[in-house]
Amino acid sequence: MVFLLKRLGLMAIVLFLVTVIVFALVQLLPGDPALVKLGKMATPEALAALREKMGLNDPLYVQYIRWLGGVLHGDLGYSIQDHSSVMAILLNKIPVTLQLTVMSFMISLIISVPVGVLSATRKGTIWDYLGTIFAMSGVSLPSFWLGILLIYVFAIFLGWLPPSGYVPPGENMVRSILLMLLPSITLGTRLSAELTRMIRSSLLEVMESDYIRTGYAKGLLERSVVYGHAFKNAIIPVITVSGLQLTTFFGGAVIAETIFAVPGVGRLIIESILSRDYPVVQGAVLFMAFAVVMTNFIIDIVYSVLDPRIKLTGGGSK
């Protein structure tokens, strides 16, 4: 309970600082929001009136408190471009990014679990070397290059998959999955490489344990020893790595969604930055940071449930 309360307290402080950083970032962005809203032809009087109406003449801390109050009530302001509510825009985009994230995560698991297990159980063989080369290349591969190569090979050269676009799963499930396949591979490759490294080293460590030797000694099949006993314990640090990778995932989503024209939160951020739609930038960046903080919190809790020793030490983050 103390562990949980301490974690909640720290999370509250971090979330508060996240809001301060996001607010400060947008305040520092060049350009006058009133001018962006009214256009270059606006008269100085109209600009002054709008600035007053938007509260831009108030001291910064007043503007921050007002903005934070709005955020706490779910009001993230209005887009300068199309005047719709930022929250509504985000609610429209979040499911798309969520679909991409979930599919990427599944792809990274589908690749990394067998490759990592094979590398660890066949240490020093050609399988291990191939697994290691994959892991090493995967973490060095720039996602935008991988995305472009995938479009060239699977969409242009082979013609097997559509190059870009998005269809909601509710509209046409098969087409939606096909359209999301290349972006998901683009986004998931780096994580699958990281996880392969992690699963290999974690499994190698566990395979040295006495209970694994006992398992082999009492005549259990290799599959049952590896998946039934070793893998369960080796997966704990892997969960932490997966959670920590969420920040990289969101960053990668900006790239993957831009390359493949997927209308998610990542593409929304780059489009709003380029069109100087600051309320949308603010809302989308805040959403991503909140999601990361919440996920880290959940991972901390899951980790402490899986490994009760964490509670005794009070758990990191010093």
Binding site: V14, L25, L29, P142, S143, I148, V254, I270, V281
Partner: protein, 297 residues
Amino acid sequence: MAQVQPNPVKPVAGKNPRARMWGEMIQRLWQNKLAVAGGVFILVLIIMAVFADAIAPYNPIKPNYGEVLVPPSADHWFGTDNLGRDIFSRVVYGAQVSLKAGLISVGIALAIGVPIGLFSGYYRGLWDEVLIMRFTDAMLAFPPLVLSLSLAAVLGAGLGNAMIAIGLVFTPNYIRLMRGEVLSKRENDYIEAARSSGLKDRRIMLFHILPNSMAPILVQATLNVAGAIIAEASLSYLGLGTQPPTPSWGSMLSAAQGYLAEAPWFAIFPGLFIFLAVMGINIFGDGIRDMLDPKLK
């Protein structure tokens, strides 16, 4: 990560223990063939960047509309781009941008992060625990690319600002790393001895704690150079990094995407060099980590 198991390191002859220690470490690095391969590629990259004028056969900026999208040939090893410019020459000059971005961004992060981490870990207190640490937690909650994008938007598009943005994004890692190192070192006997002999805090920090904490910082810095190269290429790809016509691997890929069907070479070579540069630096960084502390393997 390095896969080549080094042979037992032979003791290096010599009386000076510091020189002997360095000799043994370099020997350990030399025995790690993967790290050597990474080091060789980094060397190639440096040569490309420094001697770009001599290596590049064509002007990387001047358009040549008579030779638009020419496939790779003896005249143009990597083909030409949509403006008829030689891609090999642009890739060679692109190495300058990437190396500069990698080194300067990490330099900025080191220059800000290491002193803050050093002071924060040495003096501790409420401002360290509540302000500095929670602030770094908050910074780390932002996806690095999203934060660099937002900072680059604040500062304005361009290579210089992209480097500052990437440097600021990497800074919290160094604050945390340095602080952790200081916390583990400050209770050691030699620090206690320095304190009781009347040395001032500043001297203890600069001449005793800092040099003994540099190993993990060096490893992190090497690996971050690779991260900064990818980050700069990503920002340039998205239009907020190096601006045309300056050749940057990221902006070349961005331009190439529109010509994938008719000129795939346009996208292949800049991306391949980003990949090789990042992989070379990553395996060299792993090698340095193993060299400094073989127990970490």
